[in-house]
Chain length 232, copies 2
């Protein structure tokens, strides 16, 4: 019997690669995205296309209004920082951090998994070429897996069946891209920018664009996404 997995899918490089990995590992994939009031809501169109291309059996977009709380450049009128250096990106927790976002996302993945009978939850967190978000670190993931098995009927009755998979956690961005390319991921159909133009083009200057562009550069290939500036 094919095992089911929930895959958190933002439509960016990391989560798209994760979906391709889960598929390659033989899971029946249930993709889950969030319309959470993010400034870069265009990513949801990419997520829907990626889910279709990679053959997810279902793709749910859950509406949750994190703008009700704000507190982040992604969910309020606080501007997204542009043009930060690699050192700046690698230091501290930036203003694009969304309070408790991955805790909320994984909680919904847990509910979805419990209902459809999936015990494997995939998330594309990365603790190497990342933005310093606390909820991307291995210790956070371990704590969530522990919680998941105490929080649910399935966790209790099956004595700890939930597993959180983080196949990218120790990879650099270029390693992620190389892995995805081997799996046939079409990165032209992904979106990473925090601050896209009204037409949906990437800004090339936010932390997410800068990490993505560096990843493609180091992987020795051209980023096929459309940018308004900064690509070269």
């Amino acid at each position: 019997m094919t095992r089911k997995a929930i895959v958190l899918l933002s439509g960016g490089v990391d989560s798209t690669t994760v979906l391709a990995i889960a598929k390659r590992e033989g899971f029946q994939c249930y993709a889950l995205s969030f319309d959470y009031g993010q400034r870069h809501r265009v990513e949801l169109d990419y997520a829907a296309e990626v889910a279709r291309i990679l053959g997810a059996v279902e793709h749910k977009i859950v509406h949750i209004d994190l703008r009700a709380f704000g507190g982040s450049a992604l969910t309020s009128s606080i501007p997204v920082p542009h043009g930060r250096t690699e050192k700046e990106i690698a230091t501290g927790i930036p203003i694009t951090y969304v309070p408790a976002r991955n805790t909320i996302f994984l909680s919904f993945a847990l509910a979805y998994g419990e209902v459809v009978g999936a015990r494997d939850l995939f998330i594309g967190v990365n603790a190497i070429d990342y933005s310093g978000y606390p909820d991307c670190r291995p210790e956070f993931i371990e704590a969530f897996q522990h919680l998941a098995n105490l929080a649910t009927r399935s966790g209790v009755e099956e004595n700890g069946g939930f597993r959180i998979h983080t196949p990218l956690i120790n990879l650099t961005k270029s390693e992620i891209i190389q892995k995805g390319m081997k799996l046939g991921v079409e990165y032209a159909r992904t979106h990473s920018c925090y601050d896209p133009s009204p037409e949906g083009k990437a800004c090339g200057q936010c932390d997410s664009c800068l990490l993505r562009l560096k990843g493609f550069r180091e992987a020795g290939c051209d980023d096929p996404a459309a940018y308004t500036q900064g690509k070269n």
Copy 2:
């Protein structure tokens, strides 16, 4: 300086008592409720009134669609069980269990707390006169507190500032009611029923009504709520 607290508020006996306790302990209370597709959505009107009566500085109702997943009598067309015995209620996890509900609720409380600067989160879980839900047990709460301090900027930068308060966890329902009465809680303004009539009257037969009625009976007082049947 007054400390701030987030109080999860459903508008029932337990969470209303918790709000009164947090207030008495001197916290500035931010009440948080969820419109999650629950069959007993009328509870939100009670929550709003309770928040006002007990002087919460703010009351947010967050919309999250748990009907997108279903899997519970509270969020689907599965019928709510009526007329179960005390022994039946005390055994196993019933169909009114909502997958990952308290994990989701606490995740939002964590986000809200981080944004408004509250590090104390109150939840009215109870592991005595309760419905056997796994996410009401002390081990779940401990695991969430551990997670909260790894998941957030505040948890990391303040070296573990979040605390989950569960003042009711070891009380019987009648002890909760007695405590609330001493604090002046108006239980006529609370709602517990999972399966209310179209006019909002309690059914008197679901697990939640039965636990509530037993609590008032054992506390030696009359339940002031309106019931369609079963009160006496």
